[in-house]
Each structure stands twice: as C-alpha cells, then as structure tokens.
Amino acid sequence: MGTRKVYTALIALFAMILLPATDSRAFHSGGVAECTGCHHIHDASSSSSLLTGTDISSTCLNCHGASGASSYRISTPDADMPAGTPPGNRTPGGDFGWLKKTYTYSPRTGTTSVEAGEMHGHNIVAADFGYVADSRNTTAPGGNMDSAQLSCNSCHDNHGRLRRTGTDAAPVFGITGAPIIGSGSYKNSSVPAAGQAVGAYRLLRGSTLQGAGSGGKTFNVVFNAVAPATYNRSEATTHTRVAYGRGISDWCATCHPDMHTATSSKMTHPVNQMLATVVTNIYNKYRGSGNATGTTATAYDSIVPFQSDNLINYTTLKAQASDDGSVKSGPVGSDRVMCLSCHRAHASGWEYMTRWNATGNEFIAVDGVWPGTDSPSTVASQAKYAQGRTVAETTKAYNDKTMVYASYQRSLCNKCHAKD
C-alpha cells in the first residue's frame, strides 16, 4: 500500500470517528424502540416497568404529543390550542387534542348544548398531558374493557413485536421469525428480504402471542394497512389516501365486540361487509347533495374511506396509498365498509369520533362554505351550523379539505346512501 493510500485510509478512519454520529434508524424502526427512550433503567419513579412517565400514555406523549405537526405527532399541546384554534395534526387516526375541545352553542332546537370534548374520541389516560378516563363510558362501548385502563398501549404494542415476513404479495405475520429491519407501515417501506421482517402497521397489536395491553385485551387479528410517505398533511388540494386491507373492523371488535355481531342488540351498522353493486355505484357517482355526476375513476373521498376487499397483498395496498391525490379511484363491489369508514381511530372534531359532523344538524356545509362562528357568511356563522366552532376548527376537522361538496351539503352518510 502506498503512502497516499495509507494517508487516505487514515483520513477516512478519523473522519468516521470524528464526524457527528447520525443514527440512520427511526426511533421505533418498526419494532422495539431504544430502551432508554421510554424506560429509565436506574431511576424510574413510575410504579411499574421502569417507565418514567406517570403512566404509559404520558410516556408516549413525551414525543408524540410535542408541538407542531409532524409524522409522529398525534396530540397537540394545550399551549397551541387556544379557544377557536383546532388541534394541528391531520394524521389518519386524528389528533387527541380534540378531546380537549368542548363546544357550547345554541342548537337548532332546545336549550344551550354542551358538546363535551371527551365525546370526540378514545379517551386515553395520560395524566401528564391532561387526558383523563372517559366519564360517560366506563367500559368500551359494545364491550367490557375498563375505560380507565385505556392507553396507547391498549392498541399499539409499544415494543412492536408483531412483524411481517415473507413477501409483500404473500406476507406472514408473527412475533418471531426474523429481525425487524424497519417500519412496515408505509408505501415506501422496505420489502423484507429472506431472513428479514418489517414491523406491523403502526405497531398495532395483532397476535395473542403479544399478550394483552392496558385493559387486558389481546388481539388475534392483524390490521393490514399502508400509509403514504407523507400523511400528516393538508388536504386542501389533494387527498391523503391510506390503503386499508383485511381485518380492520374485526380488529376494532377486540374491544367493541357487540358493535359488530349481527345478532347483537347494539349492532347499528354492518361492517366488514362488501359494498356490493348498489352501494358501490352510489359511492362512485356521489359528489355532493343532489349531485350524482361522479365517476369511478375519481370517486375516492378520504373523509369516507373503505377497506379494499379483504386484501393482505401489500404490493396492491402500497399501490393504493398516496399523498398526492394520484389514486382517486372509488370502490369496486368487493370493497368493504369498515369502522374507519365513519370513525377516526384516535379522535375527530365531531361527536362519537366520526369523520364528519354526523349528529349536529341537517347540513355539514352551508352557503357554499364550512360553517364557523367567525364565518363571513351570515348563514354559516349561525350557531346551529357553527356549533361553537370557528371556521378553522371546522375546516381542520375535515383535514383542511376545500369545500368540494354541495353548497348545502348534508351528512356524508350519503356518500354510500345518497338519500339527499
């Protein structure tokens, strides 16, 4: 080796040593995170698990509840949500900050209505961040899980043990089998090679072998889905499409079983049922109240998503996920209605964590705009339409979507039922 090569090698060696070390991994990397990111090994003050947060969800929100919209933020801090200002995150699951948005207004009939923030979503318990147990539902609606035990860990396996091996076209799920090399949640997630695995979507639980999370529920259904690379984004110009595959509703049924069995008295709407010809045709033609001029090629509405057949083919799911509005096609008959067709997983701007204002009054948009107390429209600013919200809050609840529906738009139940 010549002297120049020796010097070059030495310089390279020193550069490797001296340059700032930047970790190429994400924090969770599709699986278990760095231990010291959540546990304080020698000085934990939490009552269990060496967690340093007051509780499990508080530990999660140390990172996921910070200020500013970001890929992994799902809870807007109180400081950023003065009255009239909505939570900032538009992730598919929604921002838990809506749980702190209580609205008082004069409805179209009756006396002053108070819409409690806790009606807007899953009331995780995170004492450090002011999230408390649901005071109305002491157990999960349609189930028996103790609401006081609800935490991020109830649905997500913080250790991310569920993994996907095999190919994208023929995935195999398990809690062992190969090391997790990265996230499996995204359109641009790696395809696991032989001897490799990627994490399950959003570290969601999906195997009884993972054991139970907070609240004692074990999941035996995998939540198959793929998110686009960018998803916490405004939909003012283009929609964000998450591709949902097999298992969504059955997964939710782990805690809400009575909501899903056809024989249950609590069952109110079919789920995991094919849209079939009639509903598919309605969805694809529906563009707004009184407007049935839509086409299948452009019918997709991110406010009313659907499950793609019973897919577990991640090649297909990845092709459907988009963050630029490029995949606009509506459903085919084998696609299915799911819980998330109408609800958000974390929280939404509306009661019962619905994706649109399903309970307020007959119109979700009036005078061609989203309603709000500060709307310049004398119609849209009326209390019964604004329901205590500013235009910014109403708009954010629809992911900042431009008002693309009818000037007097009724409930988006009609996207599938067209009774308007």
């Binding site: 700032p20 070390a21 003050s45 140390n62 400081a79 003065p82 961040f129």
Partner: protein, 339 residues
Amino acid sequence: MKENKIHKGNRTLAGKKHNCPLSVIMYAIVIFLFSITTLLIPAPHARADIGGAYYLYNLSDFSGSVPYNWAGLSVDRGQNEIYVVYKNDIEVFNEKGMKIYSFGDDEKISGVIYDVAVAGDGSIFLLLHEEDNYSVMRCNYRGEAEHNIKFRDFPAEYNRFFPARIFYRADKLYLADLMVSKKVVVTDTDGNFREGYDVNSLFGLDEFENKPGQEKDIAGFSVDHKGNMLFTVPTISRAFVLAPDRSVRSFGESGNIPGKFSVVAGIAADDAGNIYIADTLKSVVMIFNKDFKFIMELGYRGDKPENLIAPRSMVVNNGNLYVSQARKRGVSVYKIVNN
C-alpha cells in the same frame, strides 16, 4: 389590551405586623426553615464554574403558581422579565417570578401566537401562525401591535420555510423552522434577509428527509449571546451548536445515567457558555460546560416543588433557570450557583 393585573407594592408575611421579640425569633425560625427547604439540590457531578442549583419558586400570579402545560418561554434581557407564550396570550413575569402584565388580544394580532422575542429597545416580535401561513408582528413595549414585518430577499430555497421559533440577538431576528424545511433564517429587524442556514445539510440529516418515521425533528432551539445557534434532535440523542461561521459541533449520546440523553427537548445557554438541556423523559435539566463536559443535572420526576415533570422549554437569564413542564406544573425557576 389587558390591564396590568399585578399591583406592585411592599408585601409583608401574610400581611401581619411582627413587633414583639418572640415574633422576631419565630420569624427567624421560619426563615431558617425556609432556607432548609430550599437546600441546594445535590450536584454529584459538579464541574467547572457551576457548583449547584436550587429551586426558587414557580412563576405565579396572586392566585398562586400558574398551571401552564408546556408553555413557551422567552426573555427580555434588558428588563430581566420572562415572557410566557400560552394559548394565544403573552404573560410577563418579573425577576421575582410574579406576573406583571399580559397581552395578546389586540385585534390586529391575527393567528396563533407561536413564539415571542424581545429586542433591546423593548420592541416585541410575535411569531404568528394562521393556517399554513406565518407572519411576524412587531409590537411596542406594551404589546400593542404596530405592523407586520415584511420579509424580503429570501432565496428561493426558503420558499417552504415555516418557522416555529423566533429569537432576537444583537439587532437580528433568528427564525427557525424546526419541522418542515429545517432551516434558520437571520434577518434584520426590518425583515431583510441576512443569513440562511440549512440545518439538515449542516448536521447531516438530509438522508432522513421524506422517510416516514425517520424525520429528525428538531425539538430545542435557542441562540446564545455570541450568535451561536443551539439545537437538540431527540431521535438521535444529539445536541448541536452551529456557529455563525457555519461550523458545527455536537455532543450527546443515548442513555439514562446523568449526562446521557433520553428524550431531549429545550436547550439554552448562559453567558458563560454553559449549556442547559431539558430531558423530557428523564425529567431533568442537564448542564454542560462550553466544552460539552457534563456538570450536573437537576429536577427529577416527583411531586416536590423542586422536581420536574416532563420539562420542555427553557430560558436562562441573570443566573436563573426557567423550565416549563407538563401536568400543569407551570414554569419552575431555579437559581444557578457558581463556585
């Protein structure tokens, strides 16, 4: 404009007179006990000039400690006043930690107040977010809106710029986009572009852009008296110091023991160059000297007044350290003690 809510005046202990000798003795005992309760927090790893720190009080109004949750903090160094940004209000506290003023409801102020900076002449700069737009409103020393700063001559690569923090140092405004473009722009107080820093590129974070779940969001940002910019990047357990000449120094590594990073957040520096870093997970503030040598840490999770719960933003001023935290524990103030 909100009225000044605090009446300044002499205060006596519980408003009672203390004339008799016995009362004087009792008073002395109370003072002694009070001193005991504010014992120096142990500094097991003390180094360099800083010898310790002790808890003073929480920022308060006449009803007690103000129960902020992760409030934003800024400082008027000329007046030694602390500015708290919370729910579209700016609340001002004097050096004794008492609220003396508040503003923010001026009709000319449109949008959500995200951060505040105070210039040497008392001018106040409010960083405002309104939907997907930002603006900076210049206010007078009373917080009355004067005019929006018109930013000029921003290079094309700063088109995506969306700042979340604003700092004032030496007649310059530092605007930091910690989330979107990860760039810092330095302007004069009239908004004319002076310098721009591509933090992603300078710190070698480029490779993570547009990789979901791998974005290296910057949690902490501040500017020291020399114009050095300080950052924390929690997902790589690293703190960076970016000098005006664009040279970069960094330190920190993941871990739980004193001096290691778990989930780092706010960062600040005092005039001696000591660096303060809040660790939200460990619930401590770590102090390093200007050469990044660990000196001590303080706080620790707990319910005592001197403890911290998920600390986030910080400012250091005039020997005092101000720390905002979660669980409505407001802003704790510590006295930094030099050797």
